[in-house]
Amino acid sequence: MIGEELVQLLTPEGERVSHPEYESSLTNDQIVSFYRDMVIVRRLCNESTSLQRQGQLALWAPVQGQEAAQIGAGRALAPMDFTFPTYREHGIAWCRGVPPADMLRLFRATSNGGWDPQKYRHSVPTVVLGNQVLHAVGYAMGVQRDGAEEAVMAFFGDGASSQGDVLESFVWASSYNAPIVFFCQNNQWGISTPMSVQSKIPLYHRAHGFGFPGVRVDGNDLLAVYEVSKRALDNAREGGGPTLVEAYTYRLGAHTTSDDPTRYRVDAEVEVWRHRDPIERVKALLVREGTVKASYFDEVAEEAEGLALQLREDVLAMGKPDPLTLFDDVYADYHPLIEEGRREMVELGVAGGEH
């Protein structure tokens, strides 16, 4: 089903396998640490789903099943690299250092962004499919003009792969040899639209038509995603131009908390992918190789539990913003209609804060 061109360094059973072109460079410490990342991201994601079910979030976009794709790519990034996410890149945001509560501001409906994108070198969430990929290419063209040794990573999914903006991004990046990695998480479903409707060829094959390399990596294999991402980022930084990485993975949960996947996909398919769980296979590796003490897994789970509780506390403390912030940062400079709106709201006696 997946095909022999898939780069895999760790089987679903947690066994290391060799690949002619890629070899895992991760130290045991790194694998242990990235395992922790994945467990925490999943726990925070589950907490967020619960918060939505309890009426505390307007929406949540679960990342469950894609943790290896995101931690593998996120940890392959260098500090000065810049990333352009969708609304589901919680694992990438975690790797960039975005505080978990800030990731939820969009979903708590207190902000349309949530964090300082320059501070974390992680752009604000983009909800319109594919728009951010062009921004990433433009940013990469800026990096090029600055002569900086930085790479840019653009995130999108199989759904957005049909968007004109994504395909135009391929043209631009190729024409200008931009230092960018297109990281496509193919999670098989664009809400209810299956991959078979999006493309008749493997997505990574598209790159060849645009004149740059494409690689399909087992998106549930932390080791492989890390190596493929790292090589593509290094190549971009060294002036080698763009790469399309197709992380072949699966959205174990719903598209968002408003979705009902039982209407369009069968349980048997989900079950197949549960056996390829990205976290379980790293755990199996760590157990198999005796890298950590048995108590390590409980310690990580406990830490994740604590972070989830903290997230819940932080989110519940996020009140309604001061209504007058409506008028902040719409423009960088004076605008009469902004002042008029602000004045009207003040005259109406609309008070700030929670009420």
Partner: protein, 328 residues
């Protein structure tokens, strides 16, 4: 005072050149802007002098021209995008409305969307379809954007530089049928702020407001009306969003009669906005309802019919008759 006579096309070219000399972060990007110098030659010679990295000949996709400009702006550049013709801006509409307009807000002010989107607009050059449209209202409607239009070479020279210096994204509408008209340009002092309306001809009886190509038409109408003993005040709005309502209201308070002239269909147009806003401000001074002379509610016609479609001196004078008629 250093004044030079030049066409609007040359004035834009000189303005762009000066902005590029002043700041290395200023880039020009678009279709055919380099070697060819743009289909209207507005960027003529700039690639030769500033290089291919600063005057970027792009592949042919408007969404990407604007979308990559957003990324460059995030990186600290000040891109000036050329959209070849008004009717080709719509593939970039998504990027302009969903990203250019909103990223400053979405990033809590961290991102500066310091980009200018140059848009040759309005008709009058006998072109085929999609080359003569007036899409300014789509952009004026969107919070986060500013929309301006020049009507003289001097304004073109200064307004393009002021737009590039400004930190908000600006849709810069150029009346393409005026590109080849000459005028005096003071290259030392900017005569007006970017968002100020300007009285181009003082008058007593009726206030005419318009922008871009319509300014010249209004001035001709005012000359014709003078022969009939009517005194028309002509205001060049210059800034379409935000509107300089103070300047317009000061005129309307005196004349009591308003005619707005533009080439777009009148429904939900800049004309509608001006009439509505000034009716509210100047209600007790009005001696007649404000009228619009605009394009009709049809697609822009085959250009053999464009002089019937576009506001003409006769149609403006007819509207003047109508607002004067309310005094009877």
């Amino acid at each position: 005072m250093a004044t030079t006579t030049m066409t609007m096309a040359k004035a834009l070219n000189e303005g762009l050149r000066r902005a590029m000399e002043a700041n290395k972060k200023v880039l020009i990007m678009g279709e055919d802007v380099g070697k060819l110098g743009g289909v209207f030659r507005i960027t003529d010679g700039l690639q030769k002098d500033f290089g291919e990295d600063r005057v970027i000949d792009s592949p042919l996709a408007e969404s990407a021209i604007v979308g990559t400009a957003v990324g460059l702006a995030i990186r600290g550049y000040r891109p000036v995008c050329e959209i070849q013709f008004d009717g080709f801006v719509y593939p970039a509409f998504d990027q302009i409305v969903s990203q250019v307009a909103k990223l400053h807000k979405r990033s809590d002010g961290v991102y500066t969307m310091s980009l200018v989107i140059r848009l040759p607009f309005q008709g009058g050059i006998g072109a085929i379809e999609h080359h003569s449209e007036s899409p300014e209202a789509y952009f004026a409607h969107t919070a986060g954007l500013r929309v301006v239009s020049c009507s003289t070479p001097e304004d073109a020279y200064w307004m393009i530089q002021q737009s590039i210096l400004h930190d908000d994204p600006i849709i810069f509408c150029e009346p393409k049928c005026r590109y080849w008209e000459k005028g005096e340009v003071d290259t030392e002092h900017a005569p007006h702020g970017l968002f100020e309306a300007v009285v181009r001809r003082p008058g007593r009886d009726v206030t005419l407001v318009g922008y871009g190509a319509s300014v010249r038409t209004m001035l001709r109408a005012a000359e014709a009306a003078e022969a009939e003993g009517r005194s028309l005040e002509v205001i060049d709005a210059r800034s379409i969003a935000p509107l300089d309502l103070d300047t317009m209201a000061a005129s309307l308070e005196r004349t009591g009669r308003l005619v707005v002239v533009h080439e777009a269909p009148h429904t939900a147009s800049i004309g509608s906005e001006i009439v509505s806003a000034l009716s509210e401000r100047c209600f007790y001074s009005l001696r007649a309802p404000g009228l619009q002379v605009s394009g009709y509610h049809t697609p822009y016609p085959p250009s053999r019919l464009e002089e019937e479609y576009r506001p003409s001196v006769d149609r403006i004078l007819d509207a003047v008759d109508r607002v004067m008629g309310f005094d009877a």
